[in-house]
Symmetry: C3
Subunit: 440 residues, 3 copies
Amino acid sequence: MTRSLWIDEKGRATSGGIGESMLALIRELYPVGRSITGPGLRVTVARLSEIVPLQVTEVPSGSRVFDWTVPDEWSVEEAYIETADGRRVVDMKDSNLHVVGYSVPVEAEMTLAELRPHLHSLPGHPDWIPYRTSYYSPNWGFCLTDRVLQSLAEGRYRVVIRSRLAPGSLTLAEYVHPGETAEEVLVFAHDCHPSLANDNLSGLAVAINLAAFLRSRRTRYTYRFVFAPATIGSITWLATNESALHRIRHGLVLSLLGDKGPLHYKVTRAGDQAIDRAAWHVLSTEFPGSKKVDFLPWGYDERQFGSPGVNLAVGRITRTPNGEFPEYHTSADNPDFLSAESLAESWLACLKVLEALDGDARYINTQPKGEPQLGRRGLYRSTGGHQDVPERQLALLWVLNQSDGMHSLLDIAERSRLPFRVISEAAADLERAGLLTPAG
Amino acid sequence: MTRSLWIDEKGRATSGGIGESMLALIRELYPVGRSITGPGLRVTVARLSEIVPLQVTEVPSGSRVFDWTVPDEWSVEEAYIETADGRRVVDMKDSNLHVVGYSVPVEAEMTLAELRPHLHSLPGHPDWIPYRTSYYSPNWGFCLTDRVLQSLAEGRYRVVIRSRLAPGSLTLAEYVHPGETAEEVLVFAHDCHPSLANDNLSGLAVAINLAAFLRSRRTRYTYRFVFAPATIGSITWLATNESALHRIRHGLVLSLLGDKGPLHYKVTRAGDQAIDRAAWHVLSTEFPGSKKVDFLPWGYDERQFGSPGVNLAVGRITRTPNGEFPEYHTSADNPDFLSAESLAESWLACLKVLEALDGDARYINTQPKGEPQLGRRGLYRSTGGHQDVPERQLALLWVLNQSDGMHSLLDIAERSRLPFRVISEAAADLERAGLLTPAG
Amino acid sequence: MTRSLWIDEKGRATSGGIGESMLALIRELYPVGRSITGPGLRVTVARLSEIVPLQVTEVPSGSRVFDWTVPDEWSVEEAYIETADGRRVVDMKDSNLHVVGYSVPVEAEMTLAELRPHLHSLPGHPDWIPYRTSYYSPNWGFCLTDRVLQSLAEGRYRVVIRSRLAPGSLTLAEYVHPGETAEEVLVFAHDCHPSLANDNLSGLAVAINLAAFLRSRRTRYTYRFVFAPATIGSITWLATNESALHRIRHGLVLSLLGDKGPLHYKVTRAGDQAIDRAAWHVLSTEFPGSKKVDFLPWGYDERQFGSPGVNLAVGRITRTPNGEFPEYHTSADNPDFLSAESLAESWLACLKVLEALDGDARYINTQPKGEPQLGRRGLYRSTGGHQDVPERQLALLWVLNQSDGMHSLLDIAERSRLPFRVISEAAADLERAGLLTPAG
């Protein structure tokens, strides 16, 4: 039996609504101060759990994970810079980005010259606050707009960061949707960035809504959604789940999915895996303007999944890639930078990629000599001589022509340049008519 | 011994004459009312047999051919629409296209509103009559210019189609030119279209003239020319010749060869067969502007030859492909739409493709260490230092360089981008000089 | 241990000086009258031996070399054309190019009409003298500017060529730089052209200076530099060294390296050898504007190395290829046509190609699960969140990601599009940090 397609015309129509709902979730989570460990991460995971219940694992500080060690947990209560006369010129209350992530505690008076090496700004974007961290090198610092930095008078400043670095744990969260087989599709989104909307509240919103959608569907694959901090989080997850990694057949890293740029698919390390073919087929045929990007060991957690000792077939879907839009890693990456339409389109694209992956199968044409007579089975228009052929009939002909047991529906969709859905529906019609039977 | 090339400079010069002769044949056969069965088909085959004697096979109505059944034979005596006052507004006497192919008999009076669902016109081309058929669904209808359709007044009309649908047979015709081996090259042209010139009187004219040319030549392959109706005809031929199909090594479907567009080669289902390479090499090097088209299970009888249970390496040569010129399947596809030059060029191109296929062979360079000294054998100019190298000498160097038993003349022609004929002539010269010997 | 890179920043800075020095050598050797045998060839080889001592081999006239025979040795004392009143209108003293190479002796009076078939000029470039030879067909002739040719009055002329064709020998010269292995890289430059600067004094200058550079370096491969006449010289060298050819793994023909055009790499006969990949990687990433040219059995001695019975992986580096600049094989190809910058760049490009070939190796990432923590090893900047990644850090990530024992440094350089040197330096850093170990 051909697997039912998940997204019908009606499903597509609702995607407008889902975009607004994702944007609302992003606005809600935007003010939370996240880092690679700590309370902000737990608040975020708890909110996502209201949509789809996530299983949370806390990995203690000091745990060895591959070449790394889970760091102490970091939290920060307040952080500000005051002038000698008590005026706060920079205050974390205004933006989580003001304090460099993992800053060690400090409470001191110093001159502007002494303070300056600890201040980060963006001269090219004088009204934006940059995002900086120092996870593994004990340090402290403030990020501020260049306009404020330039306005600071010489003199003495009081500098306060009330942070805490102490043994605690790193928070992992996941949801598993069981399928017909134990073979898994991994969907990963990093959740450690503080008040940045595209990076990666957009990825969290799309991933949790993919999980919510699949929850009520029958699927061939088992789907595993993992939410974890970037780099140390995916490494921790890989190290603590090493014995189960062999089940993962395909995977996607999701991030930067709310800006108005075109969709970008970054291929797996091998570059020619099923997920690469499914993703690029769907994006190139159904989302005009999409771009394919080569693998590069730089970016997000695809770097870890694609390391030589892990080597999972994990691709990445973003809209504009990291570093290629000026708002990246600045205070300008806020909810107003995103659009509900982009989020909805990203969600739909991801779903269609998973649909193509899940619904791919090989069939055998039961009447392989010449074309079968589709007309008498009601699958073909009865008058002949027309100049063109409808896409639907062309799909029937393609599926019949290529279904020799060697070509899967995705192969056929790729060769015909017809959307996977059209090919898949044609296969379903042909199977109903007795002209197609599953291979093997 | 290198096989002699078929087409010399003199042969090329005569191709102008062959174009005129093919166009005359097309004008003669244009008025004949053909369909997938019936008397028009037999008249056409009889006329082609005057050029090269064809062996005719009649396959009875009702015969099971793969998934299909040979239909009843159809003939039509007259077909017209009359106004209440006896004025004939549409009459098959003016054009065979006026009656929908395989229309069932009708003799009735009806209102324009009742008649209208049976009328077919082309609003975008108000002076052209479209071509429509209804082979497998009992129906009747008329095709007419949109100008006439729009001029019809409300009122009652008398509708007459004196057709006959009765057990008879489907007509197949073929000619076999025996070669040195039993391995066959199939050349197929469909012959079922009524008064349409490019589709496919042009294909018939080119195919029968290729047969006439080869008749007096010694060839390596056996050449089988088949003339049959589209779809049901090729299916009938395949089904009734199934046990002999294994002899077919290469094939070409010929159609749409008289318009002024560039030559198009449509690759076989596999896309990388010897016929694909020979055809595209010849077209791309010798017929500038030619285009290569991917396989698509839509078009002409390459669909049947390329079905998974038949899977013969059959490509297709046309000029402008089906559906890509507005005159396609309309009364505007008449002899005036064709040119003798195009027909002659198509014939020459097909012949050169067959020549490259037939003349391909592997050789061994007998002096493979360094270049042999061509000068002392009279194969190389005696002065050195020139800025360029003549094509003929370059061909000698290419053949010597690549003739290691692994590369055939077609391989060498492809890599060097020199015409096959030039490479083939160089091989003949080198063999005469003792520098080349057949491989294997 | 990673092999040390040859060319440091300082080495690059000196390449200006090397260009001037090569141009001076070319000016010095330009007036020498060379041919495929004879005294000019020995003078040239003796001068090159002052830079790097060459081993000279004389192969006697009449020796059978593959399909060829070493010709008699040719020398010419004087050659001129005089008018009846004793005015010399063409005189070899003015340019070696005036006499057709290998002209037989002549001393005769004749009319202009009788003389004319022996005169060669370039009507399109009336002030340039062409270069012509007649090595294997006994003949004589003069090359002259078309302006002089057109000015010759009817009447009688005295024609004198005091040349000598007699048993002697053909001169081969080579230098071997021993490496860690007996596997060889062949560098070949033809040395038979008379007063032509780009063709091929430029190739001689670059080749001898590559030899001089490598002389003091430790290399993996053994490097064999061969200087010999074109065609008959490479054939003679191949025939007399046949039993040792199996040691040659890679090779380059060097010629036309001083003009201002972009660098061109002509691939080996197979087109996909290590030398092809190293050369094109270096040229395409470090020498913008470089072009890759397909193999063609026409050009220089790559034709002989790429003949089917020899079949060595020898590519070719030139700037503008033979025949593609108007000065080619004319008196306009003189030292003023060359630039020291072009010569220096050619030398550097060749050296970098050899460096990539010699330094290529496979490694294993010792921490292959996820990325190793580079920060604590001082290999990574300590602050996070930046928009971009420095090339050097990207190279570290690429080497770690791809070092699974299957990919060599050249593979990684090709895939990352980073210069080989940057990848090679990253590998050295990682090996020092214990993160990389040689494969196999």
